[in-house]
Symmetry: C2
Subunit: 143 residues, 2 copies
């Protein structure tokens, strides 16, 4: 479970943690799409394999990007949430979306969040952050 750390560079530091094909998509699901359960991630369009998802959730928890707690209402399942460290990747997600908004001419239908980011990126970020501000308890009311 150890991370490698290819160099002292801040870019490579982040890439060594979340620079694979899937980690950032899972964080996107948790942070921007209000997904909090294993089955939610499975159902995303990108079709991640179950073993990869399981591994990435473990990694992301181990590295402190997300927390994993058993759902008190339906104790069969676990709730995945961003930590502050994970939520602090929001500017990276937003910057990436703005770039894609400009250059992905192929993509037909853009998510509504793209509109919001285009009009008011700071307000968008604040609203997302506000969603998670009342610490761990907020998720219990989701289901």
């Amino acid at each position: 479970m150890d991370r490698k750390n290819r160099s002292n560079c801040p870019i490579s530091y982040a890439l060594d943690l979340i620079g694979d094909k899937w980690s950032l998509l899972i964080l996107r699901d948790i942070i921007l799409r209000d997904k909090h359960f294993y089955k939610d991630f499975i159902s995303s369009d990108e079709a991640i394999a179950t073993n990869i998802l399981s591994n990435r959730l473990k990694m992301l928890e181990y590295d402190g990007f997300i927390s994993k707690t058993r759902d008190t209402i339906d104790r069969k399942r676990f709730i995945y949430n961003p930590t502050e460290k994970g939520l602090d990747l929001l500017p990276v997600l937003i910057a990436t979306m703005r770039w894609s908004d400009k250059y992905s001419t192929e993509i037909k239908q853009r998510p509504p969040s793209i509109e919001m980011i285009r009009n008011d990126p700071i307000g968008f970020e604040n609203r997302i952050r506000a969603k998670f501000s009342n610490t761990p308890t907020l998720l219990d009311r989701h289901h």
Copy 2:
């Protein structure tokens, strides 16, 4: 040389293009470290393999992130430069560096750019952009 495009999402769109271990580091070298030649990328601390570097340079050129032109002064080599599309990833690079600045407690010595970003991120971005604003000619005077 075809890109896959796992879904319609703007995050996955960008990841499908530059979401591997190396592409963003090459762009970092070109955009933030004034590296423009093959041997410069080879000499970076992360130690990329020659075949991967060659492949990624091809991909980045094919996807329009960088341009490759023969050096008019030393015609043995090629000059790699960011396109506007590549340079527009600067906010992603900066957001990533700011995140690492906050969370990479292990990293001992930070690059001076981190200080500049911390003090004045917008000014930093503008100065980097200005460096590349006089289109292709600017690189000829580098060597």
